[in-house]
Amino acid sequence: MLRVRNVSLAYDAEPILEGIDLEVETGRFASLVGPSGSGKTSILRAVTELMSPRNGTIERSVPLSQVGFLFQDDALLPWRTARQNVALGLRIRGQSAAEAGACADSWLGLLGLEGFGDRYPRQLSGGQRKRVAIAQVLALEPRLLLMDEPFASLDAIVRMRITQELLDLVERGHITVLLVTHDLEEAIALSDVVYVLSQGPRATVRARHEVPIQRPRNVLETRQDPVFASLLKTLWSELADDAPAREGAPQ
């Protein structure tokens, strides 16, 4: 589905990533974990052509129109209602307002926001806005979904709930996912394969781990799996080795 080969990225003259190789097979859930500032987000931006790589190639087996991008913040169009925000992508694809609106409503319903279609973003809570953003992306039925720490801004309970909802939707829709996160537990709980990035600048992929936990998964129960604990330990030590000494060891 997605193959990133020997990709280097830079902002102007500042190198961020070098020689990145990673591969996400169709229907699989991959995560990219790494310290803040390692340039994880930039990879997603390069995949969606918001940024062009300095070197290397990015191959996708689906056109850009089938790639969904769930951003870190929930910047919805403030002047559009929840329904209009969700319908936006469908309208861009030429659906009529009525068609797109109906589809948006059903997605809002799926994400527990039935009856919230006429609200403006500022009338919604952080969790509700995140759900609208998820509906906005999933309504386009992407084959490849890129997520950039989409849950970072949410409190623990809402986060757990939305993560599970999204995981269910992804598993049911057999959507291929590349998730970028600094949350190792989240990465393991959700993914089939985890890539570990080294500290930037010039960050690179330093490890790749399979997560042999069966699906469908429950985000909470997954954490009880013995594989989870041992993999978490491995990931921590890999990242700790790499972190600057002053940051100390993780708890």
Partner: protein
């Protein structure tokens, strides 16, 4: 405090009434010179007679026409130039220094020049109101577009939106917000332009009347005219506010 006095509006009105009463009393008692500060009742008389003898209408019409034509033309020109400069770098390069200069100077100093160029009739007043408003709106639009939330631009792009969609879904709504935020200032500027233009040279208008009242040392008429202009600007402010709340409904829900 009595329950009635608990309301800010009641307190403010009461304070104003008290001040007017005091002014009236002091002026009548001759403690302050009625020549400089005629009592409010005399001002009210002057105000009423402006309307009863019908003398005011052509002046009102002149000032309103100049201010409103200047306002709308200034809005249109400011919006078009702002968009153009934001989209065409060469134009921005040429326009920006001119606009910065025009923004830095008190633009009313251009009034005499407009009189020389356009005569003492309506055109010179419209031109002054227009340039006051256009520069303000130009910066609102130009910086509004340059400072558009890039996250929104990226969202729309990743949802498949091209240039047209971006302009419709992101740029126009954000620029509308900026322009509406400046509309009240624009209304004030338009009246400033019209009235100052009339001060400089004219044969009609509230500015002309004010000039006349001042030259005859008619303090009552001067104050009455000031109150009249304030009243009209306040009405226009209220209308702008309603328009803003309507267009920016998402902000007030």
């Amino acid at each position: 405090m009595s329950p009635l006095l608990n309301r800010p509006l009641v307190r403010r009105t009461a304070a104003l009434a008290l001040l007017l009463l005091l002014w009236e009393g002091l002026s009548r008692a001759g403690i302050i010179d009625p020549f400089y500060a005629p009592p409010p009742t005399t001002v009210a008389d002057a105000f009423v007679s402006l309307f009863t003898d019908g003398e005011i209408w052509p002046h009102l019409q002149a000032t309103f026409t100049a201010a409103l034509v200047g306002l709308f033309a200034g809005l249109a020109i400011g919006i078009v130039l702002g968009f153009a400069a934001a989209l065409v770098p060469l134009l921005a390069e040429l326009l920006e220094p001119v606009m910065i200069l025009l923004n830095a100077i008190p633009r009313v100093i251009l009034a005499p020049l407009f009189v020389i160029w356009l005569g003492i009739d309506l055109a010179s007043k419209v031109a002054l109101a227009l340039i006051l408003v256009a520069v303000l709106i130009f910066f609102a639009v130009y910086s509004g577009i340059k400072e558009v939330d890039q996250r929104l631009v990226e969202r729309v792009r990743t949802l498949g939106g091209g240039r047209t969609v971006l302009i419709r879904e992101v740029y126009i709504p954000s620029v509308t917000a900026w322009v509406m935020g400046n509309l009240k200032v624009g209304v004030g500027f338009a009246f400033t332009g019209a009235v100052v233009g009339e001060f400089v040279a004219s044969s009609r208008g509230l500015g002309y009347l004010l000039q006349f009242a001042q030259s005859t040392y008619n303090a009552a008429l001067t104050i009455a005219l000031i109150v009249l202009i304030m009243a009209f600007v306040l009405v226009l402010f209220a209308l702008s506010e309603r328009l803003e709340r309507r267009l920016l409904r998402w902000r007030y829900v």
